[in-house]
Symmetry: C2
Subunit: 311 residues, 2 copies
């Protein structure tokens, strides 16, 4: 049922995005014992897949909504994505960020024309401040992952990957707030040939794994993972999609994330975030199960602070 919506989304957002390349590596194929196709969203505009969903959400606004601007809360890639998406379309973006967010991230948002509204780092503070901006400015709130237009946008990465390689048997993505994996699942269901979607998640932030087990959205009990993009939890819009269309979630240890990250940097020569390595780590952890298969892996983003690398 999402086939038309996804196709329309892909067409709508294309002028604002890169069609990212798909890379392969003989050596990683050998290590995995499978045929791997890496969709390089680290080479997407702004450095991550988040740009897709942000562009789609902004483009779906009415002209009147556009004049009043958009607002989100994020200290991660979605903050930059919404700022750049809005700037590209000529809309003002208000980004609610904790006052203790890294200066480099604040600078990046401002560099893309976003107006930062600071909030305290208390839990719930950012939701409250975002609601206030929504009310005062009349700005339209766009959630980083729990928004159908965002989810459809994120799904276009898998749609492109399946256009390039129609016979993939599985697609692996990392699982954070759930937008990417939900969009990927819709795309695989709509455009794949029995292509199943599998999530990788750190043991240290395994809310999605536990949510699928219990049948309701569970919170993270810890977020102590190097995959800092995956510390968020699922939402009520993406969770039902994930329940229905995601085959399994594989949890990985921090050492496995580190080893996968090193392989992607050293062997594929791609600068990716630790969060991006979680999908490959999940595959390598269970590689016997996927031996000989044709597998897509979404490298979700490449925004790292070179002065704080984990190596």
């Amino acid at each position: 049922m999402y086939q038309e919506a996804l196709a329309a989304t892909a067409q709508r957002i294309a002028p604002f995005l890169h069609r990212t390349p798909v890379l392969t590596s003989r050596l990683l194929n050998q290590i995995a014992g499978a045929e791997l196709y890496f969709k390089c969203e680290n080479l997407q505009r702004m450095g991550a897949f988040k740009m897709r969903g942000a562009v789609n959400a902004v483009l779906q606004l009415s002209e009147e909504q556009k004049t009043r601007g958009v607002v989100t809360h994020s200290s991660g890639n979605f903050a930059q994505a919404l700022a750049l998406a809005a700037q590209s379309i000529g809309v003002q973006a208000y980004i609610v960020m904790p006052e203790n967010a890294p200066q480099v991230k604040k600078d990046a948002v401002r560099g893309y024309g976003g107006q930062i509204i600071e909030c305290s780092s208390e839990p719930m503070a950012r939701e409250e401040v975002a609601a206030q901006v929504e009310k005062e400015k009349g700005a339209y709130f766009i959630h980083p992952s729990n928004d159908l237009e965002v989810i459809l946008g994120q799904g276009t990465a898998a749609l492109e990957l399946l256009q390039d390689h129609p016979n993939l048997e599985h697609i692996f993505t990392p699982v954070g707030g759930g937008g990417l994996i939900a969009g990927t699942a819709l795309a695989a269901h709509s455009f794949g040939q029995n292509c199943t979607v599998i999530g990788g998640e750190p043991f240290a932030a395994d809310d999605a794994y536990r949510s699928l087990q219990s049948g309701q959205i569970e919170a993270n009990t810890s977020t102590n993972t190097m995959a800092d993009g995956l510390r968020t939890q699922l939402g009520d819009i993406n969770f039902p999609i994930i329940q229905k269309h995601v085959a399994q979630i594989i949890r990985v240890e921090e050492a496995e994330i580190m080893a996968a990250l090193r392989l992607i940097w050293e062997r594929m020569k791609q600068v990716v975030e630790p969060s991006s390595a979680v999908a490959l780590a999940a595959l390598l952890r269970n590689k016997e199960e996927f031996a000989g298969r044709r597998i897509g892996i979404i490298l979700s983003g490449g925004n790292v602070d070179l002065s704080k690398l984990p190596f």
Copy 2:
């Protein structure tokens, strides 16, 4: 006169190599004030353009020569390139390396099936030991940069770049031993439309710049540069080609190499060696001269030790 030789080389080596992608970046175009096309030899097999020349040189041997093996001296990418090229073609490679070469490089050569012959780190020691291997084993000596078959192989990167973007006005490469820039110059002369070739070289290892000034091969007076692949000097086979076909060599400071390296990592998300950043650094140093032009840049390689990054 090299058009046919280059075309034949490209065809000969293709089965053993990747056709590497060409990446672009709006942001780097803005910074440079020009239209840049990056040929990603960091994504070549073995992680550097050196694989091209090594494969070509090994393929040109007679069957009888192949049975006796090949030998080179290198502590850099050519050591690994010749080992992997020889292994791929079923030939034994003997690699002369200084005994104090990094363990990680020795391991890589052995991983590709190369047999390491250690020499002292004295000047000339490696030439002497290589000559000895040549004599004792009957192995065929292949110089890392001063060999016409190697030069033709390296030139195929620019040939592919010009096939993809025929109207480039300039191609920038780093200058080390001279093999890459000589091959690039032959390719640009044979396949370009008035495409000139420009070298980037560290001030701290500026033998090629001074050689072009004096009209004879000059030695480096220092090699204290982070661009460790560029510490070697020109040879009598590549120098005349460089004299005839290279438009200019632009020298850069270490801080400029570092800044260009950071741009490539942060903005293009590509893991490249410091040597690779020297070409972009040279362009950025003289960017007024190249404003608005269509420019190819060869990202020469991506083999870095993640535990020793300069950031």
